[in-house]
């Protein structure tokens, strides 16, 4: 159950990466405003370069923003980063474990960096390893673990300080579907335990299981709402037509059926709110249509509606 208390406040957040040599400066984040509630699971959804990783790096204190303010648990990220860090558990896109050390050595070192008392640390490590089905791997070097198991160790490491905010940056990148599913099972179990989870992803199914989805594109936060609400906001159904001449067919459908659509990635796309007769469409254009899809809107459709582009990498699969 989501608490109504705001845990994270982001106001007017912008970031510009400075130019280097012939590379011009790049504005990666543009005036982002966002509030995240205690216990909420929020997905930052967007393609590569949309600014979601920059936002996450700022939230983890790894990057100082050029403009704007962030408060986490009442602490200002700019003036009191150490207090902010005490509340965070982070799983980075790139592994952050020492591969030459064992699972338990990594966890002990991480716990000591967070100043956890030795006795408490030992019991927390045992409990986490048990809970994440890693107990029999505790003495193994990380380099000997599979990608999925190593990811679970990362999760254990992030959960060790019992953070109020768990930040996951594309945590399932490079995992096979089974490992991905197992990882998400662990993350979704945190729901109801009061931990706020922020996860970046470009995978639709991962975003769809979150409480809210923040859609990002070219450094801007375009919309943030529960996934079902986002999907409903663009209509009841989405009709997609593949054909040899999409522009010609679009003009014909506009003229004959007064239906507004767009051409995205070479396919015709219509968001439909009112009842629609497929019979009439097929009677008039069947000879031109190579493939027809009529479906409830997905988060990809929402992204297309907002940006005119599809999400890169959606074909990589989901949960």
């Amino acid at each position: 159950m989501v608490d109504s208390q705001v845990l994270i406040r982001i106001a007017g957040l912008s970031h510009t990466y400075p130019g280097k040599g012939k590379t011009p400066e790049r504005r990666a984040l543009k005036d982002v405003h966002l509030e995240v509630l205690k216990g909420e699971m929020l997905a930052l959804l967007g393609p590569n370069g949309s600014g979601k990783s920059t936002l996450l790096r700022i939230l983890t204190t790894a990057l100082k923003p050029t403009e704007g303010h962030v408060q986490i648990g009442g602490f200002d990220l700019g003036s009191d980063p150490r207090s902010v860090r005490k509340q965070l558990g982070v799983v980075f896109q790139k592994p952050a474990l020492d591969r030459k050390m064992s699972v338990v050595e990594n966890l002990v070192a991480a716990g000591q960096l967070y100043g956890i008392n030795r006795g408490i640390l030992a019991s927390r490590i045992s409990s986490l390893l048990e809970g994440l089905a890693l107990a029999d791997r505790r003495a193994e070097k990380v380099e000997a673990l599979s990608g999925g198991l190593a990811r679970r160790v990362e999760l254990a490491k992030a959960l060790l300080p019992e953070p109020s905010v768990l930040i996951l940056d594309e945590p399932t990148t490079g995992l096979d579907p089974i490992s991905r599913q197992e990882f998400w099972n662990e993350v979704t179990q945190l729901r109801g335990e009061g931990t706020t989870v922020i996860v970046t992803t470009h995978l639709l199914d991962e975003a769809a299981v979150c409480d809210r989805v923040a859609i990002m594109h070219e450094g801007q936060l375009l919309r943030c709402a529960p996934p079902q609400q986002l999907q409903r906001s663009i209509g009841r159904q989405v009709l997609t037509l593949e054909c040899a001449d999409p522009d010609g067919l679009l003009a014909q459908i506009r003229a004959d059926m007064h239906l507004e659509g767009s051409v995205v990635d070479g396919a015709l796309r219509f968001s439909l709110e009112d009842p629609f007769s497929l019979d009439r469409l097929l009677a008039q254009c069947a000879d031109q249509i190579e493939r027809l899809t009529l479906a409830h809107p997905s988060l990809d459709d929402v992204f297309v509606e907002l940006t005119g582009k599809r999400l890169v990498g959606r074909e990589e699969g989901g949960l």
Binding site: A62, A96, K100, M101, Y114, K157
Partner: protein, 254 residues
Amino acid sequence: MSATWVLARREVVRFVRQPTRLFGSLAQPLMFWFFMGSGFSQSFSLPGEAMGYGEFFYPGIVLMLLLFAAIFSTITLIEDRTAGFLQGVLVAPVSRLSIVMGKITGGTAIALLQALLFLAFAPLAGITLSVVNVLQLVAACILIGLGFTGLGFMVAWFMDTVAGYHAVMSVVFIPLWLLSGALFPIEGAAPWLEWLMRFNPVTYAMITLRAAFYMGPEQLLADGVFLRALAITVGWSLLTTLVSVGVVRWRSDV
């Protein structure tokens, strides 16, 4: 437990768990000392002293060992960044000072360990070390190790690749050692070279280290040349440490 201790211990554990690194760190200076000491033994002479090149070069090799230990331990900083470990440390609630000190003290401990192992070969160079000399050398090695590791840290923090770091090592670190009086005495060098050597801070580390081999505490405290060299060595060791902390605070976006 302090973050400095956690990070320093990790450096030492990783070093000890790599037998090839441990072997190489001892074999390389021994080979250098043996081949160069043998090669120059007939052509080298110090005015007014009976010291052979093997003995003269021995403290220079200890200095090289400290430099290389520091270089290799700070290379791990680039590896930690590339492998992702560093990002996890930077988002932990620890001060930037403790992160820098963890790396620097870890690197210094490794340098000291290697130096102590190498000192066991001192009798082969004709140098007899008393317990006091060994204690003096430990102190000198810690001080110089801190300076070199701090220097390596400053450079490694800005490097994206180990190859880039090797380039800096070749054109900056190695010449610092070559022009420190480790290979040949500063007196008798060409005037322009002598001028360069006197501006090289590592020269004063060499003077400090060489003095610790031969003098006792009372002699050291009465020797103006040693005290000046010690002061300069303390100065640049502190400076490299402080600058390292500064660069981490300035640029933490790994």
